[in-house]
Amino acid sequence: MSAEPSGGGLRAAFAAGRFAVTAEIGPPRGADAEAVTRKAELLRGWVDAANITDNQGANARMSSLAGSLIAQRAGVEPVMQLTCRDRNRLALQSDLLAAGALGIPNVLLLTGDHPRFGDHPEAKPVFDLDGVQLVWTARTLRDDGVLISGKAVSPRPSWLIGTVENPFAPPLGFRARRLAKKVAAGAEFVQTQYVFDIDVFERWMAGLRDLGVTEHCKIIAGVGPIRSLRALEFMRTSVPGVHVPDLVDRRLRGVPADRVAEEGIQLCVETVQRLTTIPDVAGVHLMALGYEHGVPDILRRAGVPRPPAVLSDHNRHHSMEGIGHAR
């Protein structure tokens, strides 16, 4: 069993009011524990927690439960993602109990992409529960100790309940209320879709404040570098719900081809910096798929302080030395 971090981790960051950083680890297509460990080691010491995605983009991968366990062993606090796409209510509840039993400290509950977008479009989409109902189920399972069936659960799990929201998808005027619903159902933190349009994001935040949502739920803004024009095109056309404003498009297309990667990273750094100044933004979620090794650089340049060193394993401490600290 890996020891619980004392000062780091998501719960501790929220409790201390420290700006939280989460990142993302996509489990591999293969029975390859090393692939998760490798990514975890790149992030260790730089993030409070890392999401372990659940068949990301509806593509079959190693399960998020296994990935979470491997990441935890590698010294990175996992946020286990769980979608409604592939499991009915029995399977969802059993995975929630499993996460509790294995000491996984955070779960992130979401509806999930439709199989249409993945490598098995012919699969049966389950969607027995929706994301709101799954959050509700998790909260009653943990706090009231009951399954949907009404049967008692003992002992109860103790994970933190997270969810997602997309402030940029229509109807824009309803997005704050949709999160309010999830928070009423039990969500304690939320990670957003990629923030490229700060104005829309700020309007959404204002809506959350009006509804009292920010008093009950920590808001973590999603960010990520676009490092090539191909990635830009992919974001614009192939990822459901991502909104890339023309300003970003023009900026990335306006530089020479060999400067696009740096410009994308710089844009991400600036976005993080702007987000730190918005009241009630509790942290950032860095989605740097395939660019995990660049996460420290982005955080350093954005001036986001590292989480307190928390590793239980003493011989890992040397890896933390000599890395520049930001303000």
Partner: protein, 183 residues
């Protein structure tokens, strides 16, 4: 081989439907069908008469299919969704739109169709029923498919399908102490 959903129409996943009947008229019609002791007895009687129940259910199916694209889940959410059927969402979401709605308001699964929740929210708000959208909708009971939702509703089986916020809290949505459970 496989199907390209964009080219081969029909079958497959649920397709968002724009109702053929206005929301206001639907709310007015609801008062005709609203639960009362007489309907409750009618519902109980229908359930004892298999043949009549089947005809009644068939009539309900035809009417609601034509008007709302009803798929006969048997637990009608229409009164809480601006009379727009959430079961025509490819993910059958009962609590609002997913995060994949395109900037144009189109469905992520059927890019040629408007998201059913975009339609629902517009209809509910225009008819002055926007607050209904804040109700937490319980998970669907899959045993009710192909049964008459009218009979189920009259019998009181839909009570608490959408959990009502309390009247005295200015932010009723955020009350945790309601003891809500998704059952």
């Amino acid at each position: 081989m496989g199907f390209d959903e964009q080219k081969v129409r029909g079958g497959g996943w649920p397709r968002p439907v724009i109702p053929r009947i206005g929301a206001r008229l639907s709310y007015a019609l609801h008062s005709v069908l609203a639960a009362n002791p007489l309907y409750r007895r009618l519902g109980a009687w229908l359930e004892r008469r298999q043949r009549v129940y089947r005809w009644f259910t068939r009539a309900e199916r035809v009417a609601k299919e034509q008007l709302y694209g009803c798929r006969m889940c048997g637990q009608c959410a229409l009164p809480d969704t601006g009379y727009t059927c959430p079961m025509t969402c490819p993910k059958q979401l009962r609590n609002g739109p997913c995060g994949g709605v395109a900037a144009s308001g189109h469905c992520e699964v059927h890019p040629d169709l408007i998201c059913v929740w975009v339609t629902a929210i517009e209809r509910a708000q225009d008819a002055g029923h926007g607050a209904d959208l804040d109700l937490l909708q319980r998970p669907v009971d899959h045993r009710a498919w192909d049964r008459s939702s009218w009979v189920n509703y009259w019998q009181g089986r839909d009570d608490g399908l959408g959990v009502a916020p309390s009247a005295d809290d200015p932010r009723p949505l955020l009350r945790r102490e309601l003891g809500l459970s998704p059952r």
